[in-house]
Subunit: 214 residues, 2 copies
């Protein structure tokens, strides 16, 4: 298809498509003559992915380029290529090791991972942004006097693991590895607002069941 | 206790405490003489709550005042007082009724609530910010070509309901209604980052279990 059709089918303006091409977020089309190029279904899919990252996820262009570089690198293992999807999310800075609440939170998270038998996550603590976010969030709870630790976290972690199993089962329904990784990136951006909204709606449902509306 | 001790025990500076008092976020102490007032454990608890909303949740002062006014109003039912906790979270604007993806998402969410038997949530759709967020998030998925609907959402919703049951069971462990509502507000601010981090960590664990590290 030509640029005009790519624009029509994707709902992205030709100016924006040209910008993505210049920025290297979309591979060039096959040049058919001096002024026009031909695009295919892969371009359409990639365009959808780029647009979701930039417009829905508000991911900076430089990060999008970095993520796509990993996604397209067949020499990397699948866990690492899927892990790149997580970089599209806002990152938490390294927690302050001099903070007593941070150290207590690290201790509790270590106990939690042992208790859950999350052997893989235990090996990823130095590189995982998710681990860092958890330590920071647990430290914030402890700082205002709530002694949240492994015992309170464990039942939540079990439910989140079952959620992650649904995520990966859903992903594996897509036939090719390229589509699976694309879905993982879209999932990272779009799934969390869905889960958060479902959680809040479930809280309302359960609150009204227990205490009524009066 | 005097102001200096309230500051020491809460870790909040006396200047900030005076600001909260002026803004009506903290009730005045009992005046013991012309220049000093006496504060009690209730002040300490309220201070912790206000600080969590403002410093951790970055809730605007006017919203904090509005939330506290509802929390302190014994004439309101418990569901409504607990619902006020949700206002501390960033709000999603009313979805655009002229958007075909929004209308399709509303249809799917209606089917989902029927299927789950969430009778309370069905009655709250016109006022619930959680419902609005869900419609917006599902519409975003559909807009980029993923036909997410009731069937895909239902297993996630079941897990989120079990999460909400944990939330409310945890809350009910606190003896007084005032403390329960306080915990619900802190939960709304602090719990979601914990859940999100646990979910991402569980995704890493499950990904590495399925595909290894290579």
């Amino acid at each position: 298809m030509r640029l005009a059709e790519l624009s029509r089918r994707s709902g992205v303006s030709t100016a924006t498509i040209k910008y993505y091409l210049r920025e290297g977020l979309l591979p060039p089309g096959r040049q058919v003559n001096a002024t026009s190029a031909e695009y295919d279904e892969e371009h359409l899919r990639r365009l959808r992915l780029v647009r979701a990252m930039i417009q829905v996820g508000q991911v900076p262009v430089a990060t999008v380029r970095e993520v796509l570089r990993h996604v397209d690198d067949d020499s990397l293992g699948r866990t690492i290529r899927l892990g790149a999807a997580m970089w599209t999310l806002p990152q938490v800075p390294e927690p302050d090791q001099d903070d007593e609440y941070v150290r207590a939170a690290q201790q509790e998270v270590a106990t939690l991972l042992d208790r859950l038998g999350w052997e893989m996550a235990k090996q990823l603590t130095t590189v995982s942004p998710a681990y860092r976010s958890l330590v920071v969030a647990v430290a914030a709870f402890r700082r205002i006097g709530y002694g949240w630790g492994a015992e309170q976290l464990a039942p939540y972690a079990e439910l989140m693991h079952r959620t992650a199993v649904l995520d990966l089962d859903g992903m594996e329904r897509y036939p090719s590895e390229a589509e699976q990784i694309e879905f993982a990136i879209l999932g990272a951006i779009l799934n969390e607002p869905v889960l958060q909204a479902l959680h809040r709606l479930a809280q309302e449902e359960e609150t009204a069941r227990r205490y009524g509306f009066e």
